[in-house]
Amino acid sequence: MKLLRSGLLVGFGVVVILPVLWVFFSSVRGNQEILNSPFAVTIPPAFDNFGKAWGAQNLGAAFILSLIVTLLTLVFLIPIGGMMAYALSRYQFRGSGLILGLVTLGMLFPNLLAAVPLFLMMADMGLDDSLLGLVMAYVAYSLSFTVFVLHGFFAALPNELAEAATIDGAGHWSLFLRVMVPLASPGIWVVVIFNVIGLWNEYNLAKILMLQQKTLPVGLADLISQQQYAGDWGAIFAGAVLVIFPVMTLYLFLKDKVQQAMLAGAIK
């Protein structure tokens, strides 16, 4: 019974990880070798696939753009989302429930449903194919999750501390920044990690809004479908590794935090 259990567990583990390992192995093999046999190990490894993917196929530029977009979005998103969540959770006023409902409703609907008008609006403002436009859209569409999670964290903070700080003469801002934000830092961790992963991988909005400048997922998708890059499997696999690797590193180092972040939206 125990053996069966372990067998099943490991079996599933292999099914899950094998395709990923296969891509990693294949990313250092030449195109011809991949076509000739899907499995053999190539010696010496063909690291030039990465050079090709990074340079000739422009994934280097995409990598850097993705990095900038992810960081820039966070810089705006966390303060904006944090303030919203805080105000909605710690202050009673008419309409606060409505606002929270409206904002969290955004998690329900796929963002592509708004794609047609969003694209037209961005184009109207000259913000299509611009870093700023994409970051603005990312902040707006990441607010739902961010506010929802942080709202939960702020609401769970004990009232006594807030009262004590207020008696000490702290104003609204100082209470928020000096007392509540540090207390809610586990929640901030959660939204930062969740958003970093989500934004790094984001495809839908980038695909619609960015034309010449491509983020890494869009660049990778184009490798498969666009003509200039024609069927060079080695470079395509190398591109996939470029996308996977940063997230994998993050996961290796912050395993528990990542798992907690993935759970947080669900179970507070």
Partner: protein
């Protein structure tokens, strides 16, 4: 007193205004505009917009592509997703506990959920490819046209990739739920002699209610939101067998030159999403365990 009130109001407003402005402007307004656009005949390649009421919806209904998209999206929601949740529940029962091995396995299971859907789609596209394919390499060459090329197997092949991406997340969710069941409950079960399926149905399942609710909401959103996986793996080929509603919307917008119909598709999806949410709310309205939410 008044000064304090003003300061408080000022603070709340400052906190809310930037986020709310962005949200209303870039999320809410486009959603409303989608409703409006769906009533126009609008190719997207000129300024010309003609008000046509429900014509776009009628046109959608006339297309086989639309019905395949609906059929596939609903199959994902009503067949694939329940299978996925069952698998995750089973796996969670096996993988619970604090042993190193179980922890490692849970870590591995979650991994596909963290990587870009584009990368996941690419992995499976390559794995199914009859020339470089992983599956051919292990003796699963599949039908004559390949797993993704055969009209009979393409959807199943896609569903496997969908499950591969999602399984770890729901397993983790259920594991967390199982871990949250207090030790006394297990002890009580032992005393009462409840074991196996009986214990699951009578004790575990009701106690897992909040987690099951969360998982159902998540899987509904994920099922109706399938886009990137299809876009990179198949673009809906062969012959619409892997077309989904969201991907069909994207296709009409970018290659069909039919912004009005794409918007109509968006409205259909909004309605479907809303109905699914109401249905879920109905199912999970009351917690069977007294006194818990």
């Amino acid at each position: 007193m008044a000064g304090q009130d003003i300061r408080k109001t000022g603070f709340v407003l400052t906190c809310l205004v930037p986020g709310l402005t962005l949200y209303l402007w870039l999320v809410v307004v486009p959603f409303i505009k989608t409703l409006e656009l769906s009533g126009y005949r609008f190719s997207g390649v000129s300024t010309k917009r003609t008000w046509v009421g429900f014509e776009n919806f009628a046109d959608l209904g006339n297309r086989e592509e639309f019905w395949w998209a609906v059929r596939n999206s609903f199959t994902i929601l009503l067949v694939v997703a329940p299978i996925l949740l069952l698998m995750a529940m089973g796996l969670a029962h096996l993988a619970q506990g604090d042993s190193k091995g179980a922890k490692l396995m849970r870590t591995i299971y979650l991994f596909p959920n963290l990587i870009s859907l584009v990368a996941a789609a690419l992995i499976w596209r390559a794995a199914y490819n009859p020339s470089v394919g992983l599956l051919r390499g292990i003796g699963l060459a599949g039908p004559e046209n390949g797993w993704l090329g055969d009209v009979g197997t393409a959807f199943g092949a896609f569903a496997v990739a969908f499950v591969w991406v999602s399984l770890g997340f729901y397993t983790m969710l259920y594991c967390a739920g199982l871990a949250g069941i207090p030790g006394e409950v297990h002890e009580a079960c032992e005393l009462e002699g409840a074991k196996g399926w009986r214990k699951y149905w009578l004790v575990t399942r009701p106690l897992m209610w909040p987690v099951r609710r969360v998982a159902s909401v998540h899987v509904t959103i994920a099922s109706l939101g399938v886009f990137a996986l299809v876009n990179v793996m198949t673009e809906g080929a062969p012959s619409n067998r892997t077309e989904t509603m969201l991907h069909s919307l994207y296709r009409m917008m970018t290659t069909g030159g039919e912004f009005g119909k794409a918007a109509a598709m968006g409205v259909v999806m909004m309605v479907v999403t809303a109905l699914a949410s109401i249905a879920l709310w109905g199912v999970f309205r009351r917690n069977p365990v007294e006194g818990q939410r």
